[in-house]
């Protein structure tokens, strides 16, 4: 058993990987942080396929309303609602969270801070098991009588609270249980990430020697831990409303439906930064490595991130500007929302400044990293418009909002994730991914992505409301020009989905036939690159690394090589 293997070898001692381990104990019940990271990654990718398929189906309905949809059939309004709801839920809770936080955090944190595993390996394994259970519960909820929950990913009561309204007597509670379980899983993961980073760093690694991505994942975990309590509280109350007949959110019986919105968005807004920060971290690492330059103003980025984290707890009501929030309070939340764009902008500019004067290498990972910076900018800027309460009264719940958050979430959950996969694939599996196929995949993802959402910005500004099954019933929205844009967006989506086959093929082929990577294919500085690819159980073999410098010493003057691994002993003083 992996656990026994782990107990046998003491702290930081040599691990030898030659125990006879069965498939089950090595890949299914492992406590090794790398395996758990893979489990999260592959589960997340599988869920992404489901979420993408759902998007395909409901986009087809919007482009060709009422027609039979290939690989689905005709789509009923109830099924449409359920697909939209679960698309959002899946992409946030079962794709962005597991892949960005859980997979990257698990795989990278111990390797980058130079320790042998998470400090609570069995808690870590439990975390994945609960996560898997949550995914299974969610999938079961699609097949129960009444179908899957269709009350939008924000689950506002009264629609979500009463089966008479949502007509999903089983789907709604199962959806809620699945989300709650998923959150508990990440709670356990978050405890591990924070404790490990604080307590288990390699000898010599001081606070400012920690790679930025590790900081970002830790700060994201702290944000998550601080914001998730209210969501759990709300979920329990909503579950009681659904199943026991309490009336916490029922205005007719002295409850308050807006209370749910507060509990949800108090979590919901920090949550967007929970997924944003790991993406920022990934792009930071990649930008430095492929620009061969030191990260511009490490400390400023770190402090901006902390400031952003704190501010993110004071903006939530910008989602509720038309929910009957006091207009005076909206000033306050408009102000905080505009303020929060400052630290975000600082980080973006720091990344751009890192590029300045670098010798940039346009690998696929770098292309995705640069695309993140460019595309996310559009998402952030449109967010500022939405944050102005006056503008938002018109734009709220239109496709403009939808396009805004897809211009943030897609760069985060799709583009940055691909950047990370192309960048760390050699470390994960010992081989490089094919660059030609990679670039093909890159352009095939980025161009259609803009093709989907730019029309939706225009439609949203034109008054197209969200969550509508068939626009042909609305004379103002049924015009041929608007319909053409819907068709264009849908076709772009299909093209984008089709290009993901290139990625899957590249992934599978490279696993078997990719060019051997060696320890440090990108000539990067951080500790994960000093060990074998893939790293053995215990990560660093005989001796654990010692750290002598920060993670971004690229192109240091007076050195022969343009990189300087964190663990390299300083022998000769440079001139």
């Amino acid at each position: 058993m992996a656990e026994v293997a782990h107990a046998e070898v003491g702290h930081g001692d040599a691990h030898d990987d030659h125990h006879e381990q069965s498939f089950w104990s090595k890949y299914v019940f492992s406590t090794d942080h790398k395996i758990i990271g893979f489990q999260y990654m592959f589960t997340g990718m599988a869920m992404a396929l489901i979420g993408g398929y759902f998007a395909y189906v409901f986009r087809m309905q919007l482009a060709f309303p009422g027609n039979s949809i290939p690989f689905w059939g005709t789509l009923s309004p109830a099924a449409y609602n359920s697909l939209v709801t679960n698309h959002g839920t899946i992409m946030i809770f079962w794709v962005a969270m597991p892949v960005l936080i859980a997979a990257m955090g698990n795989f990278l944190i111990p390797l980058m801070i130079g320790c042998d595993d998470m400090v609570f390996p069995r808690v870590n394994r439990l975390s994945y098991q609960i996560f898997l259970l949550s995914a299974i519960v969610l999938i079961i909820s699609f097949f129960v009588p009444g179908g899957g929950f269709g009350g939008a990913w924000t689950a506002y009561p009264p629609l979500s609270a009463k089966a008479e309204y949502n007509s999903t007597p089983f789907g709604a509670p199962l959806w809620l249980i699945a989300v709650t379980l998923e959150i508990v899983a990440f709670l356990l993961g978050g405890i591990n990430f924070i404790t490990t980073t604080m307590n288990a760093r390699a000898k010599g690694m001081k606070m400012y020697d920690i790679p930025m991505i590790v900081w970002m994942i830790v700060i994201a975990s702290i944000l998550f831990m601080c914001s998730v309590g209210p969501l759990i509280a709300g979920a329990v109350m909503l579950l009681f409303d659904q199943t026991l007949g309490t009336a916490f959110f029922d205005a007719a019986a002295g409850g308050d439906p807006v209370l749910w919105q507060h509990l949800f968005w108090f979590f919901g807004h920090p949550e967007v930064y929970v997924v944003l920060l790991p993406a920022f971290g990934i792009v930071g690492e990649i930008t430095c490595t492929f620009a061969r330059k030191k990260l511009f103003s490490y400390k400023l980025i770190l402090y901006s991130t902390i400031g952003l984290g704190i501010l993110s707890f004071f903006v939530w009501a910008h989602h509720q500007f038309i929910s009957g929030v006091d207009p005076r309070a909206t000033y306050l939340f408009t102000t905080t929302t505009l303020l929060i764009s400052i630290p975000v902008a600082i980080i973006m500019f720091a990344y751009i400044a890192t590029l300045y004067g670098g010798s940039i290498r346009f690998t696929t990972a770098m292309l995705f990293g640069l695309a993140f910076t460019g595309e996310f900018l559009l998402g952030g800027v449109t967010g500022i418009w939405l944050g102005s309460s006056g503008v938002d009264i018109y734009l709220h719940d239109t496709y403009f909002v939808l396009a805004h958050f897809h211009y943030t979430f897609v760069p985060i959950a799709i583009i940055a994730t691909f950047a990370a996969v192309y960048y760390w694939f050699p470390k994960m599996f010992g081989r490089k991914m094919n660059e030609t196929l990679g670039k093909f995949h890159f352009w095939g993802t980025i161009i259609p992505f803009n093709g989907i959402f730019i029309p939706l910005f225009i439609l949203g500004a034109g008054g197209q409301h969200r969550r509508i099954y068939n626009y042909q019933h609305f004379p103002d929205l049924a015009g041929a020009d608007m319909q053409d844009m819907r068709v264009f967006a849908t076709i772009s989506l299909i093209v984008m989905l089709a290009f993901q086959l290139v990625f899957i093929a590249n992934f599978i082929i490279s696993l078997k036939k990719g060019e051997k990577a060696g320890k440090n294919p990108w000539k990067a500085n951080t500790l994960e690159w000093i060990t074998e690819s893939p790293p053995p159980h215990g990560n660093f073999g005989e001796t654990m690394p010692t750290v002598y410098r920060g993670p971004y010493e690229y192109s240091v003057e007076g050195r022969e090589q343009d990189y300087w691994p964190q663990n390299e002993k300083p022998e000769s003083e440079p001139s």
Binding site: V119, F120, V123, L187, G190, I191, N192, I194, T195, M198, N199, A200, R201, K203, G204, K206, M207, Y208, D209, I222, M225, C226, S227, V228, G229, P230, I232, A233, G234, V236, M237, F240, L244, G245, T246, A247, F248, A253, G254, G255, D256, L259, L263, F266, Y298, K299, T546, Y548, R549, G550, E553, V556, W564, P570, E571, E573, P574
Partner: protein, 198 residues
């Protein structure tokens, strides 16, 4: 510190972190989440009760203030016992004194949960349920959540006591259980004042 400057040799290397043990740090992070969880329940309670016409509503049984005050004392005593367990623990974790203190903590905790349970049964028989009113709903929601935490903590104490008897305990486990019990005891007065005395 200017560690972002390239360190040219001669840098002093600190040993592995000490400070807080893994168990203690992990538990502190967890308690932070718990605090936010209870804060949400409490703010929900405040919002709904402030909007109600009368609180407690007419025709609903009143909560047992006196018995629960007495029960609170038992809980505080239990917290005090846990605190007292720490001194002998530092000297000799497996001494009889430590084990006795931990057992006392646990039994006082069990008595607290037990009395709460009896009171709940009485309240139910008087007709206070989750669906009888917002009052009942919040009572069972908030106090029930606390009770679940108390039960969880008592199970933790039981395991701690077992491990002490077996002479096989990591110090960080002790700290983790201790911190969690402090949390359960420490949050109680706030809940008592809000829910029972409002």
């Amino acid at each position: 510190m200017k560690t972002m400057e390239p360190a040219y040799g001669g840098r002093e290397i600190p040993e592995r972190r000490s400070g807080l043990s893994n168990g203690a740090l992990g538990m502190i992070v967890f308690i932070g989440t718990e605090l936010m969880f209870f804060a949400a329940l409490i703010s929900a309670f405040l919002i709904i009760s402030a909007a109600a016409e009368a609180w407690p509503p007419e025709g609903q049984p009143r909560l047992p203030i006196v018995i629960t005050a007495f029960n609170s004392l038992i809980l505080f005593a239990s917290g005090w016992m846990m605190y007292k367990a720490f001194q002998p623990f530092k000297i000799d974790p497996y001494s009889e004194a430590t084990r006795k203190q931990v057992r006392l903590t646990m039994w006082l905790g069990i008595i607290f949960v037990g009395i709460q349970g009896i009171e709940w049964i009485r309240l139910l028989s008087y007709g206070l349920t989750m669906t009888s009113s917002q009052y009942g709903a919040f009572f069972y929601l908030i106090i029930g959540t606390h009770a679940l935490h108390a039960i969880g903590a008592v199970i933790g104490l039981l395991r701690l006591s077992r491990k002490l008897d077996a002479g096989d305990l990591k110090e960080e486990t002790f700290h983790a259980v201790q911190l969690f019990w402090y949390f359960v005891v420490g949050i109680w007065p706030i809940l008592y004042v809000l829910v029972y005395l409002s």
